[in-house]
Subunit: 195 residues, 2 copies
C-alpha cells in the first residue's frame, strides 16, 4: 500500500492520543518514549510534534479531557430526588464509566506525579471537583437522616478509594461480569452509609 499523502491531522491527531493513552496505561508515562508512540501510529518521532507541543502536553491533555468527561457525565446520573438515589447513581456511573475507559482512569490515578507543577494543580482541581460531588451527596443524606452521621470528606475519600480500586484488579476475562460486580459494590456502599 502506497504511503498516504496530504492532510490527515484530523485523523492522525486522535490516533496519536489513543496510542499515547494505550502506551501510558500499559507501561507508565516515564517508561514510554516518543519513538514508541510514533511507531504505534506509523510515524517517525519528529512528526509527533505536529500534534503535540511535547510529551508532557500529551499526558496533561489526556488527563484533563478524561476528568472533564467524568465530571460532566456524573452530573447527568445524580439528578435524582433522594440522597440514596443520588448515591446509587454516583456509584453505578463510576463503575460503568471506569470500565468503558479503563486506560484513561488508570492514567488519571497513576500519573499525577509526572505532571509538571502547573498541570498538576489543574488536574488536582478537577479531581477535587469530583470528590466534592460525592461529599455533597453524603452531606445531604446525613441532613435528611438517610445516612449515618460520619465525616463527609473522609467518607467520600474512602468510598472513592473503594470504587477506584476496581481498576487495580478487574479484568474483562474474570470470573464475574461488570454487572454482578456493580451490584456487589453498590450493596457494600449502601450498607456502609445507611442508617
Amino acid at each position: 500500500m502506497a504511503r498516504k499523502r496530504g492532510s490527515h491531522s484530523d485523523i492522525t491527531g486522535p490516533k496519536v492520543r489513543e496510542a499515547a493513552l494505550r502506551l501510558f496505561a500499559r507501561s507508565g508515562y516515564a517508561a514510554v518514549s516518543m519513538r514508541q508512540i510514533a511507531a504505534e501510529v506509523g510515524l517517525q518521532a519528529g512528526a509527533l510534534y505536529s500534534y503535540t507541543a511535547d510529551k508532557q502536553s500529551l499526558l496533561f491533555d489526556l488527563m484533563r479531557e478524561h476528568l472533564d468527561d467524568l465530571n460532566s457525565s456524573v452530573d447527568a446520573e445524580t439528578g435524582q430526588d433522594t440522597p440514596i438515589d443520588q448515591l446509587e447513581g454516583f456509584v453505578r456511573h463510576h463503575i460503568r464509566f471506569h470500565k468503558s475507559r479503563a486506560a484513561a482512569v488508570f492514567i488519571a490515578y497513576m500519573e499525577l506525579r509526572n505532571l509538571e507543577p502547573d498541570n498538576f494543580a489543574t488536574i488536582e482541581g478537577l479531581r477535587r471537583d469530583y470528590e466534592r460531588r460525592l461529599e455533597a451527596i453524603l452531606r445531604r443524606g446525613q441532613e435528611s437522616g438517610d445516612f449515618r452521621p460520619a465525616d463527609p470528606r473522609v467518607t467520600a475519600m474512602a468510598l472513592i478509594g473503594l470504587l477506584a480500586g476496581l481498576t487495580q484488579w478487574y479484568r474483562e476475562t474474570g470470573r464475574l461480569g461488570i454487572d454482578e460486580i456493580e451490584e456487589i459494590y453498590w450493596d457494600l456502599v449502601r450498607h456502609a452509609v445507611r442508617v
Copy 2:
C-alpha cells in the same frame, strides 16, 4: 570532614535501600536514576553496584521485604476468635501499618508495572496472599452468620481498595489524625459487611 575509608557495607547497604525507597516513592521508579540514589547516600553511581546487582533488584527487594512484613504482622493482629474481631484487627492493622510505612506501601501499589516478569509474579503472589487472608475472614464470617452473604473475593478486593486508597490522600498535616480516620474507616467496613 575527611572522607571515610574502609568497610561500611553493613551501614551503607541499608542507607542505599532507604534512599531508594524514599526516591522511588517521591518520583517513581522510572524517573529515579542511580546517580540520584548515589548522591542521596553520598556515593558515586558506580559504587552502588557493591550493594545491589542492579536497579531492578533494588525495587524488587524493597517490595518483597515490605510484603513479607505485611503478611507476617497481620497474622499477629487477626488471631481473635470471632470473625468480626478478626476483621477489626485486619482493618486497624492495615491502617496503622500503612501509616508507619507510607513510602513502602506507596511503592508496592504503584510500581508493580516496573517489575520484570519473574519479579512481578513473585510480588503478585505475595499480594494475593494478603488478599486471601481478608477473603478467609469474610468467608468465615458468612458461615457463622455474622456477615451478610456476598462474594468474598470481590468483597475483599473492594475493602482492600477502600483501605489502600488512604495512601492516596492522607497527609500527616491534614485536618484529622490517623486515629480518627481509623475509627471512621472501621465504622464503614463494619456496617458494609455485617448483617
